[in-house]
Amino acid sequence: MSTPEAQPISALLDAETVQSIADQVWPSLVGDGEVFVPVPVAPPAEVVSAWVDIIGPWRGSVVVTCAPATAQALTESVLMARPPTVVDDEDVADALGELANVLGGNIKSVLPGESKLGLPQLGSAPSRGRLDDVCALAGQWRGNFLTITVQGAAPAPHAERNEVPL
């Protein structure tokens, strides 16, 4: 969070709101008839995340996490790619990033105050901040593990003291 007085995300947003946003995003972006089901499944051994940062009265990230194979399938669905069309790593980064972007933009719109949305990023999810500054929605898409996490930014590490004796 940006300031000590800022409210944690758990006071601003609930999982039902995130689910309602996902309910709009999935059929229009992922494809007709596609749904994000809020029933958790076991996480895979390897995951990839895409996220966008929200910078405003509340600071944090909206993170989408899934297995690489799920990200590939999501991309094929978003791009309506059919064999023999093959999606490449750049397509996967782009499509998963756009999913995080659309989710993040809609989540930003329900937060109080004016905020800015960062550009999508892909990789290992950013570190979380306070334990109560998280709204996580664990679920699945086509039976595969997928989570949407709205998490506060980790506090900046304290600058190391480097006092020079006078």
């Binding site: 978003v78 309506m80 499509a95 756009e98 809609n106």
Partner: protein, 127 residues
């Protein structure tokens, strides 16, 4: 009709472009506002620009202002297609010169309705 789809996401460019092509549009793409201005400066004359807001290099709002500042592009219809859904942002885009605003996520029907409102839906497409 011609459209220029401006979005840093290839996936979103492909989605918007596919819908527009289904409506009979000839479509070109640009990955940010600067690239889009380059396309216009080459002489491409779109009837419609679909513009994302958050993009690197030059964002959608800056692109709208740049286009509106140039009388040569007066005939181009500008439609924001973005996740920025707060009323303040919508007002800002319309004040800068955008004609319409479509919030992501959207459906093909929603895009068709916006085109119909703008008078940019080809006659052979059912409104």
């Amino acid at each position: 009709m011609r459209a220029l789809v401006i979005d840093d996401s290839r996936a979103m460019r492909r989605i918007v472009g596919t819908i527009l092509k289904d409506f009979g549009y000839e479509v070109r793409e640009a990955g940010d506002g600067r690239q889009a201005l380059d396309v216009l400066e080459e002489g491409y004359q779109p009837d419609l620009c679909c513009i994302d807001w958050n993009m690197p290099v030059m964002d959608g709002l800056q692109f709208v202002m740049a286009v509106r500042a140039n009388p040569a592009y007066r005939q181009v219809t500008l439609m924001m297609v973005t996740t920025e859904s707060e009323m303040g942002q919508i007002v800002k885009a319309l004040a800068a010169g955008a004609h319409e605003y479509l919030i992501k996520p959207f459906t093909a029907d929603a895009l068709r309705d916006k085109l119909a409102l703008l008078g940019l839906l080809p006659e052979d497409v059912t409104a």
